[in-house]
Symmetry: C2
Subunit: 347 residues, 2 copies
Amino acid sequence: MEYNYNLALIGFGNVNRTLAEIIQRDGNVLAQELGFTLRVTAITDLRFGSVVNPDGVDLDRALALGAGETFAVLDGGQETCNNQEIITSDAADIIVEATFTNPEDGQPALSHVRWGLESGKSVCTTNKGPAAFAARELSDLAAKNGVRFECEGAVMSGTPVLRLATGPMKGVGVRGFSGILNGTSNHVFTRMESGLSQGDAITEAQELGYAEADPTADIGGSDVRLKVTLLANELWGTELTTKDVPTQGITSITHEKIEEASAQGAHWKLIGQAQRDAAGNITASVGPQMLPSDHPLAGISGATNAVMFDTKYLGPVTISGPGAGREETAYALLSDIVAIDGFYRSQ
Amino acid sequence: MEYNYNLALIGFGNVNRTLAEIIQRDGNVLAQELGFTLRVTAITDLRFGSVVNPDGVDLDRALALGAGETFAVLDGGQETCNNQEIITSDAADIIVEATFTNPEDGQPALSHVRWGLESGKSVCTTNKGPAAFAARELSDLAAKNGVRFECEGAVMSGTPVLRLATGPMKGVGVRGFSGILNGTSNHVFTRMESGLSQGDAITEAQELGYAEADPTADIGGSDVRLKVTLLANELWGTELTTKDVPTQGITSITHEKIEEASAQGAHWKLIGQAQRDAAGNITASVGPQMLPSDHPLAGISGATNAVMFDTKYLGPVTISGPGAGREETAYALLSDIVAIDGFYRSQ
């Protein structure tokens, strides 16, 4: 049986634009493999305004808008952007949230997710805020409304970390995890091993597009802290907050320390980790660690990310893959939609 | 809602014995997490005979049988082992197959799986033979009978390779894979890097329990060939046979070649790989490859296994974990049962 889902794209930046391109380019191939078709029936964006079209938004035109143009030039479009109105309307079945998140409270992404779930729509997001600040509230809200909340892209873009742990590894007994969860800081360490200063390596990461213009969250560890909080809460159903995660960045790791490690075949890595003890208490932290060469995370270099799960039945299981990127993050949303589709089929 | 599944354990060697121990020891904890209980209602074994008990086989006694004892001492037990009769009877809901497999034709495991599916039971197996020789036949047979065939343990024991690719990575576009799929040969290379001769390293692998008494299948590549065939067929629904996979073992890799590689920071690995081109044609092979230090599989050492998937949307995604072991392989069966449970709930 073939299903069709109408999507509302909330935010039309790199990620949702790339998802729109994938739907345009690969939609037919994906429909054959996945058993469902996707149609974008609404888009909102602070810059472009909003557009609602039950027959499907003209994505070619939406993607080709020039400087200063807005969705007002499209059928069903207007200059203003009212996220709440469109998310809570019947314009779409699934809300695809890719705006931004304030590291202090998860907004505005958190409100977008709440509005969607409260109005009976499944929601997926690439933002860390919603699950980092309100994982249990949102999963309860989804359950109450008979819908799903998915956020695979919040950790390691489309590399399936959350769904690996909660899907194929169900029942394995995850006792803890350690991860390289920030591509910028990992790239900086890798390049320092080749002799670059930390400052030059950060500049290079910015030039390569890995680091933000303000790399504080990458270098200082707060980006990893959000991901550790989110991953722990998704894994164990806990209500950890970022305050529970003591965090140290990478600035204390000097060139001398990198050289000392290299002489032993070891590597410095910014590690985010959490463990759960037998009583269910969680201990989590973020900070630089020197890993011996045979550690499963020691060889993860450059912008690649990885998580090693420590499990009861399998011991360490490690997944590595991209941690960022336009297409990689757009795929995260597609994989969320696959999970939402699986949920609807199981009802 | 809580489900209960009655299991028939076919074969009572290390793996199914360990599964029985896990059910005894952890069954209550697992039931809470997984939402189903497990009861062993039948066991067959060439050595121990067979036992059928609708109220549950006395696992403590079954596990404690002394030398020369058979299941005849248990309620519902007898000295003889009739696999076909028990598999096709109504003694169980799920057939848990862990006997052995002939690398030429997949028997007797293949027959056990067929009998189970034909008689309307879901089947899981740790044997490579059934999916390597008859993946499509068995998945068609399962679909026709409204049941499932699962074999996660056939590749990398309980490390979820098959279900990672077909579950959380659905739609990602797997174009190919390269894997380290045999712990013995990988251990041998790792130890040769420490200066051991190949012969001594093989003896050590046997002493550690990684290698079979006859290590031909490990060292000669035929174990990896079966796994490559199986993985390709599961991923792409093809009907590749082992004859389609040119295979070379590790004996040609001398100590000199290992040293040459080490001098460049590179590592020799026995790689099983397959690629699918745009027309759907598969090219597969097994053989030693020298990997540069920054290759995702270069750092996989000792008995650890790993598969790197080359994907359209994510580029390389690598999973590594145990490739063998009693508890690790027993968990593979448990994860198969979780998948079977998910299937029944979605009906």
